[in-house]
């Protein structure tokens, strides 16, 4: 599976090239709250924006600031450099204040012809749910109108079914680490998770078939301790691989480029957009959802119970307020349960930070007695 990391490290990857040749429209999105099934159903290629560990952000810094998180600045930097010029449109979500700023500046300084804003509620209640259903209807209408396509209920149901199959396959690889023998590294899983957002659904499904066929024949990885990771949005594959190099096998995570992708089950009844809205809104597992900590905590407890980590490492990107606060709550609560926790603040994508982080993780492994 070494090819996965390479594939995940390319922005206009082979899928983008193939899509361009086919004339498939590519729509950029950033946040897990964006229901990709709507794009799939319309024949679009939804592409999840990544920061690619870019550390030179001078173009982005002219718009965002040094008080904004490095992940968003890196994404904007790539956009302003033209790395995302293969997008035919851009879809914003109000994931967090930094992300909102990234989109507003992107559209102001380097606009796309198609720009749509999905306003995702921060609370889960009936009013918010009804609102979010309307938001998905507005998204569908905007796509249909601008690109002159039709998205039918049947298309949506087919897209949802395909995403369901993908989630099943992805889960099999992801959960393969939960036994004593670990054959897939955390770095590889993160690569796979980023590819989930940068490959068309059918292609990604085929890729998963290859992975499922290949990994069981691998020898188990050697490790000192089992770790679970969590925290701010990150696509830093190298960082995870480096941390694993000191002996911690990553067996689970609660990243939004990670364990949160599974999004739980959707209700079986009702119109497709309402089912999608319910599944996304109630399963974001992101601290941008307020009054929802209990659900997130239960999600993490469940991951811990099933993946059996020796300890949990929680990261937050500098200036990421949501995860910065969430990690304190989680640390306090998990430590009360007897789960060892290491919290780390990091600069997104900064290679210079890796040495420091490795030292901290090494010390943590020693604390775990491993």
């Amino acid at each position: 599976m070494m090819d996965l990391k390479k594939l995940a490290s390319e922005l206009p990857n082979r899928y983008v090239e193939e899509a361009r040749e086919r004339g498939t429209k590519i729509i950029g999105y950033a946040c897990l709250a964006t229901p990709r099934e709507v794009f799939d159903a319309g024949g679009f290629f939804p592409y999840r924006i990544r920061g690619m560990s870019v550390t030179r952000t001078e173009l982005a810094d002219a718009w965002l600031s040094r008080f904004n998180c490095g992940f968003c600045r890196s994404c904007l930097q790539l956009a302003l450099e033209g790395a995302y010029d293969f997008f035919d449109g851009l879809v914003e979500t109000n994931g967090c204040d930094h992300l909102r700023g990234m989109f507003e500046n992107w559209q102001y300084a380097h606009p796309r012809d198609f720009f749509h804003y999905i306003r995702v509620p921060h609370l889960t209640n009936q009013d918010s749910m009804d609102w979010f259903v309307e938001e998905l209807e507005l998204l569908k209408e905007a796509l249909e109108k601008h690109f002159e396509v039709s998205i039918t209920e049947e298309d949506l149901l087919a897209a949802m079914s395909l995403q369901g199959d993908i989630a099943d396959k992805l889960r099999r690889v992801y959960e393969s680490r939960w036994g004593d023998e670990v054959r897939v590294s955390g770095g590889e899983i993160l690569a796979l998770m980023t590819l989930e957002g940068s490959a068309p659904a059918e292609d990604f499904s085929r890729l998963l078939d290859e992975v499922l066929a290949e990994y069981p024949s691998r020898p188990p990885l050697k490790y000192r301790a089992r770790l679970m990771l969590g925290g701010s949005a990150t696509d830093e594959i190298e960082l995870v691989s480096e941390l694993e190099s000191v002996g911690g096998a990553v067996v689970a995570d609660s990243f939004c480029f990670g364990g949160r992708i599974f999004r739980g089950e959707e209700p079986l009844d009702g119109p497709p957009l309402r089912r999608l809205a319910h599944r996304y809104l109630y399963n974001l597992m992101c601290p941008r959802m307020f009054d929802d900590y209990a659900r997130r905590k239960a999600f993490i407890d469940d991951l811990i119970e099933r993946s059996r980590p020796d300890g949990v490492v929680l990261f937050h990107n500098k200036f990421c307020d949501l995860h910065g606060v969430e990690n304190v709550k989680l640390r306090m609560d998990l430590e009360k349960q007897g789960v060892p926790v290491l919290t780390l603040e990091k600069e997104y994508g900064a290679a210079a930070d890796i040495g420091r982080l490795k030292t901290r993780v090494q010390a943590f492994l020693e604390r775990l007695g491993k």
Partner: protein
Amino acid sequence: MAEVDIREHQGLYERVYSLFSIVGKLRPDISEEETEGILKLLPPDTYRALRSMLRQDLLPATFAFMRTLQVWMDEAFRAKEEGKKVVLVPFNFPPELIHAFEGAFPLTSEVLSTLGVVVLEGQGERYWDYAMGMGLPDHMCSSNTIELGSVLTGKDFAPDAIVSSAPGSCDVNSSIHEFVSHLLGVPHFMLEKPGDSDRRGRELFGRHYLSLVRRLEEFVGEELKEENLRRVADKCNECTDLYYDLWELRSRVPTPVPAIFALYTYATRFTMWGRDEGIECLRACVDLARSNLEREYFPAGKEEVARPLWIYLPYFFDFLGFFDWMESHGIANMGDVLMCCFPQRIDTTDRDSILDGMAEAAWNMPMTRQMGGDFMSKRWLDDVVYAVKGLNADCTIYCGHHSCKQTWSVFSQVRREITRTAGVPTLCLQGDSWIRRMTPMAVIQEELTAFVDNVMRGRAGRREGKRTRRSRAGRGGEAAAAAGGEGAPSPEEDIGEADKD
């Protein structure tokens, strides 16, 4: 980090309350000599705030303001003793709703933090340090983390519930209030601004507001009475009228409104709006400003060198070094965006109309109004441009409070658009509005001086030069303009000149 030792009765609220109880005993006609004598006994941090507020030319308004805050804290204290619910609210939640309850009283996190910073020796640093010691990130907002840090010590006045109205307009504010309610185990009521500033967003916000009212009624164990709501709404309307009177007075050139009145206005908005004390405080500010105007007394002088609007927050950690310093240097403070709540009179016909008016007020509270909704840059810019024009501001300043990620996110484009649409320059500073450690006041003063000397005086000079040139050209140009020919500058050209500045 060294452990911060906070003993019994060393919480922020109790310390501020004790100090205000003493200050409240001062005679309203205290002389300058007496003031100086008494203030010299106080620690330096306390001195610098009270010295600014107890200036002779501010006394009637300052005493009304201090009385407002004293009653506010007194009532909270009494409410606790009487078993009423003390509800902690953020600054962007209008307190009048809680004032309409008989069994509840509102306390505002950010106002308490500010009071702690302003009047306590050591400012709010020990509480901030305590919060940092718990592992909270240093990019949290000091405006609420100072007060909430104090609450978390367990040595301070603890609220019975927390209302948060920042979801949709500030992640930091929402997170910290949620965090504290989680740790204290007290109920947490959230009011979200949907990501849409139009009618659809407003309708959902109205439903969220009514749902919050129902949940609060359930929590307090009391159904809001129409007569209580009307009593409060009538007083809100009086406050609203006075707010616009003060706005109009501030817009005069030169302005008769003292710099610190911006703070008096919104501190009242955030605490005792809809109460007699709030009305008295605002009326005292209006009366004093009117009297200044009549006797041609202008706190920043007749020849103002700059009229800045602070486009988000000002600095609160040194009143003497900020408000007084600006005025003594001819800088007329046009206030900041915390003033930009643009209240509307509430229709008091019935319970529904009153609650709808209160929901509208909540929709328009600072930060909610500017940062919630569609695009952070758009509504913020609209309000800034409106205020610049309405107040005759000639420049804007962004204080760069490090925690305001949402404003930092879009500041660059807002600055460009301010120049383009309002034709005024913008100074960008960096600092923490409530903590002096990040940028000391001396540095802020230096930056302001450089801006005024290099940009504002230069603009004034160029404007004067332009007027002279036009005046010279006017003799021939007027005839050409009358004929629609060359020589008549268009409004676009005027803006173009401003851009060059």
